[in-house]
């Protein structure tokens, strides 16, 4: 259990006054990163700093304070024909958090991470100055802060270039892949699809290893821009530990695969397409009191098949079923020092937490990093400093930039401590 002092922030003056009083800790949005990146002895709660500064309806440029949630943002932009250029798998994150994690979405293979659409950031550095940074201005701070997990300063505002849409519906195509080989081929064949992602049955073995359902999407032209508001269901309390055990997961996976109709095309509202889990609030409670760990890695293209096969065999052998398992082809990496994606394939898994899981994940870390891959910081809760340094070779440049802008020793989290970034 981490207990923290939470300071609600409603204006940049609020951040400045905390810094003047010797704040040491991390800024936090909606706290949806899976690991310890938003945990510290003191946190600046930015969710109250959620105003829009300006919205150019004609050009599709919106300038917001960092604490605005993607859900709120969508409710403003979608009715006027705009969409997020990149969106992660939940709307319940803040824009500031999304930039600090340099999130990617189902369109990464074509469009890259969210930072590619950030026109400029305003960052408050440790001394209370607000610096405007972009690819060209204070570019070192920009590249350190996009994906920098809030360790360089407080992202105060973001100017984001949006994507024009004609409808809030998605034309979704579902394809079945009986094993990993076929899944890889489907991703390769459908590189031109705007959105692609695969749900993968990580307990399938033998010839069926890597059995998946690939989903492709394109923005529809019809259907209109009227938002639908559906009630959210909520998990009221922690379920008993072991509810999501391997036999439940195996049966669910089997049904899910059988239920998918190969080649089916249908028009779906954007929310279930991009945010299937948002429908059930507090879904983490399904894992019971001890919770779960999320693990996402990416490996370069040439090693991807070998690594995925190895990883899936080990998970399947260990009988540590992951309920949610998402496979995705990723496009080229970017210039940000700690940004996650690189050209290849990424796999995200979540595991009900048990102590026996930790050695398994350590083994997976080694396999991934040996093949030039990385583990996603927004989901990491346990990677070692040694693995981090191998996975993110630009960590030294990142540390230097933090030093230069006075962030070291001021902005730090449980994660930065663990990863050896705080000296």
């Amino acid at each position: 259990m981490v207990s923290a002092r939470r300071h609600p922030i409603c204006s940049d003056e609020g951040i400045r006054s905390q810094l003047k009083q010797g704040f040491q800790g991390i800024s936090r949005g909606l706290g949806r990163s899976y690991g310890d990146s938003a945990l510290a002895a003191a946190v600046l709660d930015l969710t109250g700093l959620d105003c829009i500064r300006s919205f150019d309806h004609r050009r599709g440029i919106i300038h917001c304070y960092a604490g605005i949630s993607l859900q709120e943002l969508l409710s403003v932009i979608v009715p006027s024909g705009w969409f997020l250029p990149v969106t992660p798998g939940t709307r319940f994150v803040t824009l500031g958090g999304a930039v600090a994690s340099d999130v990617h979405g189902k369109n990464h293979h074509l469009d890259g991470c969210i930072s590619a659409f950030v026109e400029q950031l305003e960052i408050m550095t440790a001394n209370g100055d607000v610096l405007v940074c972009s690819q060209t201005e204070h570019s070192d701070l920009f590249h350190a802060s996009c994906g920098g997990m809030g360790l360089t300063g407080v992202i105060v505002s973001i100017c984001l270039r949006l994507r024009a849409v004609r409808s809030c519906y998605i034309e979704q195509t579902t394809l079945r892949a009986e094993n990993l080989q076929v899944a890889f081929e489907l991703f390769a064949e459908n590189q031109g699809a705007s959105y692609s992602v695969a749900w993968l049955d990580c307990l399938a073995r033998g010839d069926n290893l890597g059995r998946s359902v690939v989903m492709l999407g394109e923005h529809a032209d019809s259907g209109g821009l009227k938002m639908q508001y559906k009630a959210q269901f909520a998990m009221p309390l922690d379920m008993p530990t072991g509810l999501l055990n391997s036999s439940v997961v195996r049966n669910f996976n089997r049904l899910y695969y059988r239920h998918a109709v190969n080649g089916q095309e249908k028009e779906v509202y954007f929310v279930p397409f991009f945010y299937p889990l948002d429908r059930l609030a507090h879904w983490n409670r399904l894992y019971g009191k001890q919770g779960f760990l999320q693990y996402q890695f990416v490996v370069p293209e040439d090693a991807a098949f070998v690594v995925m096969t190895e990883v899936l065999s080990r998970i399947s052998a260990a009988q540590l079923g992951s309920f949610l398992c998402v496979l995705k082809a990723t496009g080229p990496g970017n210039a940000n020092y700690l940004s996650f994606p690189l050209q290849g394939m990424s796999l995200a898994l979540d595991f009900s937490f048990t102590l026996s899981l930790l050695p398994l994940l350590n083994e997976l870390d080694a396999i991934v990093v040996d093949h030039g891959g990385r583990i996603y910081l927004a989901k990491d809760a346990r990677m070692s400093a040694a693995i981090f340094r191998r996975a993110y070779p630009k960590w030294q440049i990142f540390s230097q930039v933090r030093e230069n802008y006075g962030a070291a020793g001021v902005f730090c989290s449980a994660q930065s401590n663990r990863l050896g970034l705080d000296g």
């Binding site: 939470r6 204006s11 109250g48 105003c51 829009i52 500064r53 919106i62 304070y65 409710s75 009221p236």
Partner: protein
């Protein structure tokens, strides 16, 4: 499209309410104390589609300025369709127990200032023979508890005053709506541990709009608080005084 006046506009519930108004393309007049935050909100509402916005700074404890601010609002909006009085501060109960000036200040902001504004706005609405006047009271005003009876006493005064106004203005087609939120997750309540009973400001704001549309008088938000408070009021004083709630 309505003309909406919001006092205490940068409070979390008022912000959520104002955003609903903006997305419906209402005309807004905002009153708040902090200039920076007020300007941030004005920009935000403009970006969300508010047709016209004006604002004025006011520290509500300055009762002598109320008339002037209200006239500015009337000048801009002409007709007041909806008025929301939302300002407030949660005083430190323990400090108020020993420090008379803190006590006075808490009563001034949460009680006197609100009542003075209610009185002035009521007269204006009466003269235009229409309008909805919402005032944010609190479940804390339903019964005094050791942990926050200063705030509770001020809110009780507000609830009673609003009830009287509702009675007086009924024939003038003016609706007075007393809003009694339960626990709301806002900057005002940051130091509390949040459990199942806590609601988001957006939920409260939606409930307020529903209360206007359905011509309600006293609304508990979320609605289950009506039953909780019914129970709390039902406990005999001889027992209640022994409880620590």
């Amino acid at each position: 499209m309505s003309n909406v006046l919001i006092i205490g506009a940068t409070s979390a519930i008022a912000i959520a309410f104002a955003r609903q108004c903006a997305s419906r393309k209402d005309r807004l007049f905002l009153v708040a104390r902090n200039a920076t935050r007020l300007q941030m909100l004005v920009d935000d509402l403009q970006a969300r589609g508010a047709v016209a916005i004006a604002s004025q700074l006011l520290d509500v404890s300055r009762l002598d300025r109320h008339v002037e601010v209200l006239s500015a609002a009337v000048k801009f909006l002409k007709i007041l369709d909806v008025v929301l009085i939302a300002h407030g501060s949660l005083p430190d109960q323990q400090v108020c127990e020993t420090n008379p000036s803190a006590l006075q200040q808490a009563l001034q902001i949460n009680g006197n200032a609100t009542i003075n504004l209610l009185a002035l706005v009521a007269n204006r609405l009466q003269s235009q023979h229409c309008g909805a006047l919402l005032v944010i009271s609190s479940v804390a005003g339903d019964r005094g508890r050791a942990s926050n009876y200063v705030y509770g006493a001020a809110k009780a005064a507000v609830s009673t005053f609003a009830s009287g106004l509702r009675n007086r203005l009924y024939r003038d087609n003016v609706r007075v709506i007393t809003v009694k939120p339960g626990f709301v997750d806002t900057p005002m309540t940051v130091s509390f541990d949040k459990g199942l009973l806590w609601a988001q400001p957006e939920t409260i704001a939606r409930g307020m709009q529903r209360a206007i549309d359905r011509r309600r008088n006293v609304v508990y938000l979320p609605a289950f608080w009506r039953w909780i408070m019914w129970l709390i009021r039902a406990v005999p004083e001889s027992i209640f005084k022994r409880l620590s709630l």
